[in-house]
Amino acid sequence: MPLDYRRFNGPEDSVSYKQFSTNFTRSYDELFKGLFDENGKRIDGREFTEARPLYTKTNVISQAKGSAYVELKNTKVVCSVFDPREIVGHQNEYSIYGQIYCEVKFAPFSCPRRRRGLAPDTDERALSANFKTAIQTAIQSTKFRNFQMDVFVYILEHDGACLAAAINAACLALTDAVVPMMDIFSARTAAVINNQIFVDPTEAEENLALMPTDNETNHGIITLTVIDHLRNITDLQQIGSIDADCLIKVIDILLEECAKLMPLFKDLIIDNVFEQYKEHQVYLSIKKQVNEELSNKVKEWTLIVKDK
């Protein structure tokens, strides 16, 4: 890899200390056992079809037009959306569609197994491309013709389902930025390990789902994005090896899970609208007051001028 002259680089041969710890090299079976507690449930006490609770907050970055923070237990994601800006460079041809630029980035310290480099790698680029296809169908890009809009996502901590968390954050950030959209959308992830479906997997479960096994059982990760009212699947991504019956089963489960997120998003959006309306009212009253004071001053001054 070429040396990065714009940043400080560490030694080339450095490796994470975790590789030398005793519980790094464990076999598939040991890892598989580690996913369950003594009652046969998942290690964090969830059922197989139970998703983690989603925590969200909008308008977290004051400098951006719209922003959102999403937390799925330990998966933490920030997303910000900026005002459309004119497209610079290339030919400057007029386009009837607005363009969307997406960038998903992992924090160097976000992954539990290794440190990520600062320059974007192929993983991040693939994730960005996926993220873009998932969100761009919902955006009415003809409303900002010949302009480009930037959507940035930063993953602070990766504990599984980070693409789904990023897409959910983007939905809230876009509504916070008042971008014209068809409808709100949501995403969920499921992992299949040894024919067992795990909804909203953690990093340990995702890792195991992608591990090659000797026996031919279903394994893999499926991420699904759906636009609420249109029932339009904008992005379906499946990696691993899964048969068609199992995939259909997973899609049904994920559609249901995505629908469950909708009331939460709607509540949040309605709350935000109310708050903004209140703020606007306060702003208007202040403006009125200032204008009155100013006009009074003008009256006073005109009287003084007349007297002289």
Partner: protein
């Protein structure tokens, strides 16, 4: 008022300064409120998050092992990188870091190295064979001025909460074993605290504003803060002046004292945060 700020930014700013108040209602030597949290990211070996007004910065430290350099066999590595992400402000574009980002990165690195708060010899495990590499990655999540202050505070908090796992190195077989359950805290001597100022050239006299916002930085002409003063427990460990208006000797003396007072406050904040963290 908002329209006035957008249409006539310089006049808007000057109107405020001429009546001795800053656009956000602060006094000239008043800092913004600080929120500090340690160990907020579980995947990092040590981490902290700071919020100074509307500037928020997160720092995470990842530990790695490497062979020391041949010319310095007893030294470990300390690699700090500041990332000004495009998500934190519309000023920064995606792609490789801009010149300004590199300047910030370099300044933070200089202050940390020169203050000698980490002895690189402490990071060496076996001379010429094995040493720790401390990757300190600082990411700006929200940019509203005084970035160096925030970066340094969060970096120091993370370093102070960092502990190194126990390593057993067999010289004959060159086998490495790491015991994650036994951890030794890293020795940190000193605590550098940076304070940013902008210097505004008003008609009567030049005034210095402490802990500037991004708007104030823009109004004072510099790219970022004009003056960064760094105190390390009673000793100066770096003064950087990046353009802006001039200030006499008396003015400089006064600013140094103001920065010294502030460094004590920040020190207290960091120590309280770490004490709270360890008591939990």
């Amino acid at each position: 008022m908002e329209e006035y700020k957008v249409l006539q930014p310089f006049k808007y700013f000057n109107d405020h300064i001429s009546v001795n108040v800053r656009p956000d209602g602060r006094k000239f030597d008043q800092q913004r409120s600080i929120k500090l949290n340690a160990n907020s990211v579980n995947t990092a070996d040590a981490s902290s998050l700071i919020k100074c007004g509307k500037t928020s910065v997160v720092c995470g430290i990842s530990l790695e092992l490497a062979t020391p350099k041949a010319e310095e066999p007893d030294n470990g590595f300390l690699v700090t990188n500041v990332e000004l992400l495009p998500l934190c402000s519309s000023k920064f574009k995606p792609g490789p870091p801009s010149d300004y980002a590199q300047v910030v990165n370099n300044t933070v690195n200089d202050i940390l190295k020169n203050s000698k708060c980490i002895d690189l010899k402490d990071l060496c495990i076996v001379s010429d064979k094995l040493a720790w590499v401390l990757y300190c990655d600082i990411a700006c999540l929200e940019y509203d001025g005084s970035i160096i202050d925030a970066c340094l505070a969060t970096l120091m908090t993370s370093l102070k909460t960092l502990s190194l796992p126990h390593v057993i190195y067999d010289i004959e077989t060159e086998e490495i074993k790491v015991d994650v359950n036994i951890r030794h805290p890293l020795k940190v001597t000193g605590l550098p605290v940076a304070t940013s100022f902008v210097i505004y050239q008003s008609p009567d006299s030049n005034v210095a504003l402490m802990d500037p916002t991004s708007f104030e930085e823009e109004m004072c002409g510099g790219n970022g803060a004009n003056l960064v003063v760094c105190w390390n427990q009673g000793l100066l460990c770096g003064i950087h002046k990046f353009g802006g208006a001039t200030l006499g000797t008396d003015g400089h003396k006064k600013l140094l004292n103001v920065a010294k007072e502030r460094s004590k406050t920040i020190e207290e904040v960091i120590n309280t945060c770490i004490a709270n963290e360890t008591s939990e």
